[in-house]
Amino acid sequence: MNGSVTTAQRGGQKKSAPGRTERAARAKRRLTSPWASAIAITIGLLWSVPTFGLLVTSFRGSTKDISSTGWWEAFKFSNWDDFSLEHYQTVLSGAGTSNLADYFINSVVMTLPAVIIPIFLALLAAYAFAWIPFRGSNILFVGIFALQVVPIQVAMVPLLTQYVKLGLNASFWVLWLSHAMFGLPLAIFLLHNFMKDIPRSLVEAARVDGAGHVTIFFRVILPLMVPAIASFGIFQFLWVWNDLLVALAFGGNTPDLAPITARLSDMAGSLGNRWHLLSAGAFVSMIVPVAVFLGLQRYFVRGLLAGSVKG
């Protein structure tokens, strides 16, 4: 794994190794105290209670019971035969001509390019900002950083106008481009700060060996960037997968384009009278993000610290 390589290299760079281990030991001592663990576990449990309640509710058959009694009532022996998969069946079968699978596939088609495009562009931009000195790079970087402040809602109508002029309207391009645009400022900022932490000596050594920018980027930088890429990937994935606003504003709520979140919001009906389906729907749409998160979580914590703490 590249993680150990990075630590070793960084350890040798600025700080002396003994200082680091001492600090690490102190941190370990503090963090592993039984009290801290007990508090962490308690908070974790409290945090999970509503989600667990939602899970229990999604298996309760009777709508009347759901609206009049708490989810814990479902565990009473007299209510045991109330457990059913009925809501899941309704959710998966969809309504009318559409079914949930269409929306699920839309979500996948929307999400993958919307994650890959900003990572690809941001890596190139971050490399330029970190390793290619040019005039005005600082001002440009501050400008990009500041773009994170612009609320999406402000950009919607002008963007949509441009899409219509370009003839891109009502296609996946609109969604991919919008998500890429909204994701880029954070992506560039995060990847740049991570990239800057790569020891200069490493890049210079490669240059001495005759490597150009392209070789340095692919052979030296990219392998070291994997944790940062993965962590931004998770960020962007969760944001795009859970997005409803951008999808509805640019793509519209048609079975051709709308993601699973749009279906979920419609599921309760025009007047909200089938709200009991929402708990089951929420769990169905949660499967993929949870799988992605669990699969990539090792990178997440490491990547979160990217740019914020300098070794």
């Binding site: 079968s93 309504a95 699978a101 949509l160 504003a249 419609d266 025009s270 993929v288 699969g295």
Partner: protein, 457 residues
């Protein structure tokens, strides 16, 4: 490195497998439920000939109706598609009211849009992008709708949008069996209704009224409907129009008196909140749950619109005159006048291609109204189009509502909060009515606060 790639592949294949499983599962359901109307009968294309041959053309439609409601709209266009060959691209979104103006501005608007509020329609017309209704549509509207409906779709006398669906809000739900066993009669006047309320209270079987106005961020709209109904009855339709157009102030004595009339019913501990709690609980109870105590015999009266019938059906009750639950017209003080509060949607067009004009004309015709009635499986839809054959409506309460709408002696008035400026109609009015229940705020103070929120121009 290798391992993480392996995991990513695993996650991706898991996702795909899941999608596949869902597709398979949904496919099997599709086969079972193909052709929900179940009529394999040949469509009579006679009435559709006037629209001509529209093969290869497509028309986009944008409405607020989603899920099963949306599906019933799509099903209602089937005959049109079959006979003319035009494809209808349907889009329903609950966020229409929020994003339609932005879409108009950006030029990304559908050919035909169904506006759920005349106020929003006016705002759209003000952009100059809404096209005036074609002559055939105007002819249909004149023929099949009353003048007040035409007026709600017009600006400065020019018709822009034809009415589509309609709902009746002046209804009181009750249980016919509970009424029969206690010997109560359906009241004919407002005073009778107050007397009935007093009788139920003194009989002590249960509190008479149940109510609830909570609805997430839209909490309060149910109470505004109550107020509108009371203004129509206590102050009269003329004062109602002045009130909505703000030629009389919101804190005019007539309006405050109407609020006080409403307090006689809803702000008396003896009358509310049957089967739920005290007066304050009205503000916290969701409108969806507020009427169900009727089914348990814990509540006798619940004022709510015709579309609430679906909620009783979902709860397993039979909605019929001889069933578990039924509704009567909220009576006025004088039986000779019959004001009806209701809502509806209006169809405006943003394109004038021949197929769009044909489709727009079709939507204003009795053929579509009947097709829609037949396509609405569980009921919950009606219209004020008098070309509709009542027998085609699937639910008894829809027929009742249609009967009220078609009654020539009835004076129809559109939901006033939908006509008022948004800062009042969907903000101050909602919030102050919530305070009216939650904080027991005085009628005069409520009216003053809403008047203060009215935009000055």
């Amino acid at each position: 490195m290798k391992r993480s790639v392996g995991r990513a592949v695993m996650a991706a294949s898991l996702g795909l497998a899941l999608a596949g499983a869902m597709a398979a599962c949904a496919d099997s359901d599709d086969k079972a439920s193909k052709d929900p109307s179940g009529n394999g009968a040949k469509v009579d294309c006679g009435p559709y000939q006037k629209y001509g041959d529209l093969k290869g053309k497509s028309i986009s439609v944008y409405t607020t109706f989603v899920d099963t409601e949306g599906a019933s709209y799509e099903a209602s266009f089937k005959d049109f598609t079959e006979c003319t060959g035009a494809e209808i691209k349907y889009e329903g979104s609950k966020s229409l009211t929020a994003d339609v103006l932005g879409r108009i501005e950006a030029g990304a608007i559908a050919d035909v849009v169904a506006f759920p509020q005349p106020g929003l329609l006016r705002q759209a017309i003000a952009t100059g992008k809404v096209l005036e209704a074609p002559a055939d549509v105007a002819t249909n509207v004149d023929k099949y709708w009353t003048q007040s409906w035409r007026d709600y779709g017009s600006v400065d006398g020019k018709l822009y949008a034809a009415p589509l669906g309609a709902s009746v809000k002046s209804l009181v739900w009750y249980s016919p069996t509970a009424f029969a066993s206690a010997g109560y009669q359906v009241p004919e006047t407002w005073d009778d209704l107050l007397k009935l309320t007093a009788t139920i209270t003194s009989d002590g079987l249960a509190k008479p009224w149940c109510a609830g106005i909570a609805d997430g961020e839209a909490t309060g709209w149910v109470a505004t409907d109550w107020v509108e109904d009371m203004v129509l009855r206590a102050a009269g339709p003329e004062a109602y129009d002045q009130w909505v157009e703000h030629t009389i102030a919101f804190n005019d004595p007539k309006i405050v008196d109407s609020l006080k009339e409403m307090s006689k019913v809803l702000r008396d501990d003896k009358n509310v909140n049957a089967g739920i709690g005290d007066i304050q609980s009205i503000a916290a109870t969701t409108w969806m749950d507020a009427g169900t105590p009727i089914l348990d015999g814990q509540c006798y009266l619940h004022r709510q619109a015709s579309f609430y019938g679906g909620n009783f059906t979902d709860a397993g009750a039979k909605v019929a005159e001889d069933g578990d639950v039924w509704a009567f017209y909220l009576p006025s003080s004088d039986p000779s006048s019959k004001p009806i509060l209701g809502g509806g949607d209006f169809v405006a067009a943003f394109a004038d291609r021949p197929e769009v004009v044909a489709f727009q004309t079709y939507l204003s015709s009795p053929e579509w109204a009947n097709a829609k009635a037949k396509a609405t499986e569980g009921g919950g839809w009606t219209t004020a189009n008098n070309g509709l054959d009542k027998a085609n409506l699937k639910s008894a309460v829809d027929q009742l509502a249609y009967g009220l709408l078609a009654d020539p002696s009835a004076e129809f008035r559109f939901d006033g909060s939908d006509l008022m400026p948004a800062v009042v109609g969907s903000d101050a009015f909602w919030k102050e009515m919530t305070a009216y229940f939650a904080e027991n705020k005085a009628e005069q103070a409520v009216a003053d606060a809403i008047e203060a929120a009215w935009p000055k121009d």
